[in-house]
């Protein structure tokens, strides 16, 4: 990890010095354990603040939307796929970017680690395979593999597919991963059971929209939930309105979501709304053999028509 940091700082400093970019978007060290903060470096001095570890789960592609500068951006596998999606959707131009690719071994799950600890965590350190968690009266060494965010445990694209600089050798991709076991279980439920399942899932939602706002796909100038004329969704804690928001948002991400996990990570009350986006991801793969953000040259299936597209739903 420290070798990553050194290289990230080196590359960033060089890009800024050579005026290839106006800023480098990365992470700076967080003020509390298990967190880092998205950060932009504009000078060689700022570059010293750039860090990298397993707490960089926020998707930095979210910070590119409609920016006008030339930007260096630190990108793990999923970030890079979302950058590709951003380029395909005209939210940033490829020539504005220098993508600094980071082969990723997964981000750790803050909530899971917190729940496993006997008290407040005050310090977390990590090496290649282990995470050491310390607090008042306890110290624990956890195998990183056991405490990954679920999306990282299921990830099959850890290496950035689009980059200009790569800060380390590529890592081995995970093979034989069953990405959709939990989704199949929900698919098998009856409509009434599904209704209940989703009611429970979203019962704690406080409508802060952290999931939407952490998502690089959610860049609409006015989200449908914020429209006033007409107002599509009520704003109270009404369960139907809450579910309407989550379902519709998920549908808007169909064929675009890379399962970066930023939504779930951002949620202050621990809702796994990825169950919705992953169902759509699964459908896109089953119907179109499509994975989002894998190529700058192919149009996404939902914004193009091909004669071979499945059309069984037309009765």
């Amino acid at each position: 990890m420290t070798s990553y940091i050194q290289k990230i700082q080196e590359v960033s400093a060089r890009l800024l010095k050579e005026c290839k970019v106006d800023m480098v978007i990365g992470f700076r060290k967080g003020t509390i354990p298990l967190m880092n903060e998205p950060y932009f470096a504009r000078t060689a001095e700022d570059v010293q603040n750039l860090v990298w570890d397993s707490n960089c789960g926020i998707n930095l592609a979210n910070y590119l939307t409609d920016r006008k500068e030339n930007i260096g951006i630190i990108a793990k596998g999923c970030d890079a796929r979302n950058i590709v999606t951003h380029i395909v959707e005209n939210k940033i131009k490829r020539e504005q970017l220098v993508i600094i690719g980071v082969p990723c071994k997964g981000m750790i799950n803050k909530r899971k680690i917190t729940a496993m600890s006997e008290g407040e965590i005050t310090e977390v350190t990590e090496d290649e395979n282990n995470v050491t968690v310390k607090g008042d009266g306890f110290e624990k060494v956890l195998n990183k593999k056991d405490v990954l965010q679920q999306n990282c445990a299921l990830c099959i694209h850890r290496n950035p597919i689009e980059y200009d600089e790569l800060i380390a050798e590529t890592v081995e991709e995970q093979k034989d991963i069953d990405r959709y076991a939990d989704i199949r279980e929900i698919e098998a439920l009856s409509p009434a059971e599904k209704d209940k399942y989703f009611e429970d899932l979203f019962s704690t939602c406080i409508r802060c929209y952290a999931c939407r706002n952490a998502c690089p796909l959610c860049y609409c100038p006015t989200c449908f939930t914020d429209e006033a004329k007409p107002q599509w969704v009520g704003k109270s804690q009404d369960q139907t309105d809450i579910e309407t928001f989550h379902f519709l948002r998920a549908f808007h991400c169909a064929g675009r979501c890379t399962d970066c996990g930023a939504c779930e990570r951002a949620c202050p009350v621990g809702i796994n709304m990825r169950l919705l986006t992953r169902k759509l991801e699964k459908d896109c793969f089953d119907l179109f053999e499509w994975e989002a953000g894998m190529s700058l040259d192919v149009r996404p299936p939902l914004d193009t028509y091909k004669p071979g597209d499945p059309d069984d739903f037309i009765k």
Binding site: Y63, E120, R207, A210, T222
Partner: protein, 355 residues
Amino acid sequence: MKVIQIDKEKWADGLDRLAGSYRLFAPVKEEEFYNFKELAKDEAPDLNYLNTRLSPKAIIYPQSEIMFEYSLDESAEDHHIMKEVDNSYSPQAVIGVRPCDAKAFLLVRLNFDTPEYKDPYWIRAYESTTLVGLACDSPCSSCFCTTAGCGPYHEEGLDILLVDADNHFLAKVLTEKGEKLIKAAGWDTAADEAEAGKKIETGKQAAETKISAFVNTDRLPEIDTVELYKAPFWEDVSFSCINCGTCTFVCPTCWCFDIQDENHGKSGVRMRNWDSCMFPLFTVHGTGHNPRGTQLHRVRQRFMHKLKYYVDKYDVGIQCVGCGRCVRSCPVNIDIRRVCELMNNYGTEKDSCAA
């Protein structure tokens, strides 16, 4: 001041008795987080929490609250007339509220209960609520209450302060409301006041020394508001913000709301819902113009309100009790302690390197 000793063996019995005359709210662990919940019959408070994920503000100021109802049926005599809904405001008690969260109600009161304006919903709910605090012996590393006008044993805003003393609680009765609740619970063993006082003082000092995070707010009143508004650090502070409402919704002192009418067929309700200054919609005008059109505007507003406008307007310190929830819950780790430091140091030599 009266101190009652409540043996832990008598704790549950007392709560049972209270349930007859109060609706009881207390921390309960739900999956991975603690939150305040109305206790069901025979449900016990779980007092092993550091603090709850969400503040207890919703017990007095619900996230969605119906104020009026009306009929749109023109054949009805009273159609299109707003009628107040019949909310009971029966007595309720919050058991195990942290001193920071109790103090927060007093800050919110400055907005809802003023000489000019009285918010009837908030006031009625507040008046029907008894706050039974639990002194905080294990503050989190992100708590900074002692420099935010509060503290782990702070009494302002509480009706009773409970101090955990192994096999019993010491209950410091602070108000008439508190007195009434203690009686209703049947807890009647007076503690030796001198000894109890000493114990509470020792606990207080031990807890206060455990607070490891601080903010400096001494310069905030004197800094020129416009200069601070124009400070260059806002771009840096706001960069990572995703403009979600997490900080404002978990905050015990954020009070903003939005009023909505919702119709269902021929009837409807007028309700208020928590709003957030982090949302673009918060300030957008009917014309479509938004005076706080950028993320920088909105982030600056939140911190300026809490740490400058409020300070100037009320002269009672910052609009923050140091509970640390926004620090712990922010998805991108924006830290009010850091921002406060930047603001407080603005215009001094320290300000250039603080970021």
